[in-house]
Symmetry: D2
């Protein structure tokens, strides 16, 4: 089978690998569609140490090709989606609900690429298959289901950690695919005023379509001052960091009310310096502000719930897909994501 890999020399490309064999609790999925994620770009740039020739990718759907002997409740041939993180659900950390940190290891459930091959290949292996394979309902396309594996699941977790109550105010920093998903998530949690910070017009337009009430273009104004102005000087009840930048991180503290929640889903691994919290807006440690450092939680229940929102028409994330490619052109798709060419947000990769 063919796999899209990161070679030891730091270059990406397609190479031939053996189709994986399932262990007792595993499944092997024949891939039908996948999407490239900015995290793949981070990986290529060395954000984490990975094995040479590791397969990239963690957003894929397909058809069950083979099942381990101890996996019940699933059938070969079934269409399935798998989350970008695949917790065991059995260890102490998973039993406490922190499934992203499976095994008590930071980002422990982020297995694809990080702890073995990713899933941008013609076939891929999934551990803890009973817990992680979600059959795709007939009324959902592969394209829709793909969004549940990472973008919506991460964006919705961001909204969840923002702890929104009916009618509260929220600012979402950056409207890439995760930020846009967070905007959808905030709308679904009943936010009263959703402020999206973004400078690129196509993303601004999607943000509005997905539920943002106001767009703040940080290239044209001071976003902190503008958000305070939009909230009569009070600040927002919650702020979401969906970019992974030190400036937006610090801004979340400056735009939130006392008692505000800061929900981070941006990856802050590019810059080696510690993150900084500005003292005054943090009330010198006594502001009742709360910070949550979050990640997609994974698992088939979470996928099913996101599927349901798409099935009843409450969410349609597919307008985020700006480009489509065959697997043969995946290097080009990756390159476009790396350099954000042609206004790309998410590229859909068709297999076979």
């Amino acid at each position: 089978m063919r796999a899209f890999v990161l070679r030891g020399n730091g270059e990406v490309g397609i190479m031939e690998k053996a189709v994986p064999e399932p262990g007792p609790n595993d499944a092997v999925v024949r891939t039908t569609a996948a999407m490239v994620c900015t995290t793949d770009v981070h990986t290529k740039r060395g954000a984490m140490t990975v094995a040479p020739d590791v397969t990239l990718g963690h957003e894929a759907v397909g058809v069950v090709h083979a099942l381990g002997e101890a996996v019940d409740g699933l059938d070969v041939g079934q269409r399935v989606a798998v989350s970008g993180v695949t917790p065991c659900f059995e260890c102490e950390t998973c039993q406490r609900g922190f499934t992203s940190q499976c095994g008590g290891v930071i980002l422990g459930a982020a297995r694809f690429t990080t702890r073995g091959d990713g899933n941008m290949a013609e076939y891929f292996l999934v551990g803890h298959a009973r817990a992680n394979l979600a059959p795709i309902p007939d009324d959902l396309s592969d394209h829709q289901a793909l969004y549940a594996t990472d973008m919506l699941s991460t964006g919705f977790v961001a909204a969840e950690h923002a702890g929104l109550d009916f009618g509260e105010t929220v600012a979402v920093f950056a409207q890439g695919a995760v930020g846009l998903s967070a905007t959808i998530g905030c709308r679904l949690r009943g936010a009263g005023l959703i402020i999206a910070v973004e400078s690129l017009p196509p993303r601004q337009e999607l943000a509005r379509r997905f539920g943002a009430d106001v767009i703040v273009d940080h290239t044209r104004c001071d976003p902190v001052a503008r958000i305070l102005e939009l909230t009569d000087g009070q600040g927002v009840d919650a702020a979401i960091e969906a970019l992974g930048s030190r400036r937006t991180w610090e801004a979340t503290f400056r735009v939130t009310k006392p008692g505000g929640r800061i929900s981070n889903v941006g990856y802050h691994g590019e810059d080696p310096e510690p993150l900084e919290i500005p003292l005054e807006p943090f009330g010198y440690g006594m502001s009742d502000k709360q910070v949550y450092a979050g990640l997609n939680r994974g698992g088939r229940d979470w996928l099913n719930r996101i599927f349901r929102l798409m099935r009843t028409g409450k969410v349609d994330p597919t307008p985020m897909t700006t480009h489509e490619f065959g697997f043969d052109d995946i290097v080009k798709a990756f390159w476009m994501m790396e350099f954000k060419e042609d206004g790309i947000i998410k590229p859909l990769i068709h297999f076979g």
Copy 2:
């Protein structure tokens, strides 16, 4: 001034009363619009003991007429809304967050009519004015603001107590004005499948418009069987009782999954018998099911948040208003509510 009262003989009518005088922490509001609530009908029918010639009503908006000497932050002449419950926010019970039960007394914050005059009068008194008067923003009509005082605030509390997570399933029993508001609330909290139980076509139509995905007409099928069928035999994650009937109360236990939440906002005071919980669907007391007996929480923050949802266009409850009257015709409006004439849902009463 004129007030709409319940006389000692059980009849309703208009009578002349003195304009109230504010104590130090009170306000007097000149009423501009009000709505009749089914609770007023319950009161007329003797659901609770009230003073003779008490003024009815607890859904009203108006203009500040007079302020007590200790009330700051408000101005005479300002347009204001007041919730149907008016907690003190200062007693131990309020400090614990159970503001509806102000003073540690069941329904203690339900002061209008129950503990003094209601607000279906040309002027009305509001205690704890700083905590309970919410200025109405210029971009909201009195008509819209009125819905925040009771219907939306109660319906949203119902949705909140249903503890909905992204994409969960919920059944709302009855689509009167509170049930319809609960349906809106469930949509705002990100429910994935909203099942509304209702037989009257105009209410069914509003339910769809407000977010119900499926309507179950309990006069044409067994609603419990139908809801189980709609959820592949699993049951819903949450059920809301918005009617106050023993049959729907029991149904909430039968249609919920293990781990399901039952959120009650129906008033069960018409039938003197205890409420019954069917044993098997309750898991003999071990089903992880949870029950919340709820009521509107009151207060200006809650009003402000509901206002925000209307201001940004996320909620428009005014289609629930089926009829309009002048204050002179309030007896007729009340009579129509009592007998549910002409498909009435909510009647809007204009003052002066």
Copy 3:
């Protein structure tokens, strides 16, 4: 091997069975100690339908005898405890946190006896072994560890569902082993006043020792009136039902404040009539009272946390053990539990 079974004719006794063989994710444990639970007595009396000659029991500890091929992280020969409920942790219901209701089935994780053999035998089978086997630390005895499998885990869940904040008041109805454990749990959650309802002097004494501040003997006074008096007429913040009686269930509503929490862990399957909620103390459905119908949650993380409380000396439940027997005398132990002979609370059964 020998097993303590419930024969088809309703009699209990010891019979010979084959030592179980583990499937890929199972473990077989050689039993070293066990305890009889009142639930076993309920089962004998027909509370649930079980297979003929089923092994009774769900409170046991032992030594790993054999492991399925897919079970890692455990070793043959290791001392282990297993909770009375053994969730899979992988299904949607477990992923939502309702592990007691594994598979979306009421009490679905209550597998011992109900869905196969129990563990009052010389060897027993445990499914989902990775998630359910907790190694017993060297500094804990089998005797101590046994209490974590059911009594403390259920009693602590009861305290958790009571939602206690610092210094709140709570009434615990009945001080059998679960009620006593709930009393310990309330103390550990920072309750300010713990009222235990119990008439038997030895249990009253244990209740005091475990943290009860006041004992109410319901045979000498009206417990509802007494609890209201002890709380200056306000009622308690929370009440725990640890008996499974209609009278105590109803009392929990009468003794709680508006906003109070009712935490049920009693089994209400003996009387076929529905449970009743008295209307007035329930505020006709609007009292902000909350009910949780709970059960032990299971899993090795939960066992580990209870172990930790015993290891640091914060909890010692062993004074609840009133009697000890060898496995040969288990019929006698069971008979004493059935008829509550000789002030029995928990009998400890030694194996081999």
Copy 4:
């Protein structure tokens, strides 16, 4: 009357002031006992801008001397305690539960000294008296009640924000009076292992007495390494910062598990640099770690609940009092607190 003030020249001393007069919702209390807080020392050192000749102090109890005309439910002559923060409970921020940030202003409820006179004077004024005056039960001494006003209330809030479940592990950094109170709070919330970081033997001894299982002396070992070792390399479930130092703040991230909670109650205003979060233990923003920046919440319900814990003997904080003075010697008491002379922890000041 005499008041202990901070003069414009930065010196402290006693000066004569007029006895305050109550507004409609205020009370004036005649002080009977008070305690000096480290925050008073911060204030003297210029941590916040205060009015010249402002009275210091925010920990005092006394007897009601005069009541505003609109204050009901209280009597002149009653013994009362007042929390160090006095929220209005009526504004939107208080209605949301963030009472420390009253008025939407950071630390807005910290009125004593910061927004007017403090209470280390023979008489002091309390606003929002109905919400903030808690009668002291006859069975509690002034000495005990004083601890509820700030130390226990802040320490317990710290434990609450640590989000402890049964049997979890927690590290408390620094065992001054707030840290010791947090240790008591962790014990009351059912922590399974409480690790206290402290180098001074008398404080270590109190920590043990109040519930710490292990003491880590950071002057004799690397506390991060030691805490990881004590938790088998996993880290603690929660860490409390009760000092206000950059080093301990950073350590809280290094000693917590993925999914861990960091509860800050230390004041970080002495060093003007931003607080730093080390990236790797924060999982680059994706560790499921949570931070809460907390403060005493105030209000009479909170005081009552802490009183209850002392009345039933579950908490006795008075061993923290190392020194006693008459009001005449308050300058000496203050000076000892400033320079931490003679192992001082809390000095009790007797009035009149």
